[in-house]
Amino acid sequence: MSLWEYANPVRFMALSGRVLPWLAWGAGLCIAAGLFWGFFLTPEDYRQGSTVKIIYLHVPAALVAINGWLAMLVASLIWLVRRHHVSALVARAAAPVGMVMTVIALATGAIWGQPMWGTWWAWDPRLTSFLILFLFYLGYIALWSAIEEPETAADLTGVLCLVGSVFAILSRYAVNFWNQGLHQGASLSLDAKENVADVFWWPLLVSMAGFVMLFLALVLARTRTEIRARRLHVLRLRERME
């Protein structure tokens, strides 16, 4: 029994059908709990006031936005190397979820930046990199929807995802070089001194777990839909032939 067994669509459908409800409920519970905890039960920050509560949306969304692209990269690599159709569909399913997360991270960041930095938008390296990430998501999704032949679309978007990943990293460095930023360093690191205070940390952790589960649940659900859609497509073609 190896992991690759789940590349078989039938097995994938069976397993994902069993896992999906748990993931969906877990995501809903964790997000509700994390956001409730963060919104109602945490104190205000002594400098940021109540705007610190935006962190419970901003950081998890940003986390999922970046790792969503990473998931697409891995799925595309598996598709290009091992030709498992499920993998290509996972990459396709992850893109819109990642894009919405990018938008949430940008929007909450802008709303937070308005009172704190005095501006909705600053050409800070982190913000700029996220905007570029959003453009990459946009192009990727546009390419998927532009090509009709499913196998060609999967191949071309896979190649685009690989090249895009290299350029995303390159842009990150270029943007760093181009402008020094306002954005604070990572809110989470193993170095305890850099971390946010514990009162903010625990609800944030719950919220992050919720966002990650939501991402997984949505990707699984969308992949299942894509598999069904492909089967439907094949059946329609067959019907037309008969």
Binding site: L35, F39, F40, E44, G49, S50, T51, K53, I54, L57, H58, A61, P96, V97, V100, V103, I104, A107, T108, I111, W112, Q114, P115, L214, L218, A221, R222, R224, T225, R228, A229, R231, L232, L235, R236, E239
Partner: protein, 50 residues
Amino acid sequence: MMPELGKYAAEVTLAYGVSLCLLAALVAATVLRSRRVRRDLREMEKRRED
């Protein structure tokens, strides 16, 4: 019930509102498309059995 949000109440509620709306839209789109495809597929398979 509402916590005291101080002078940034508008910003905080706006951030939560926008994000939750976006998440809800994403979930709704996923569920709706899933339902539609599932229904079409079921119809198609039933038709093929007949």
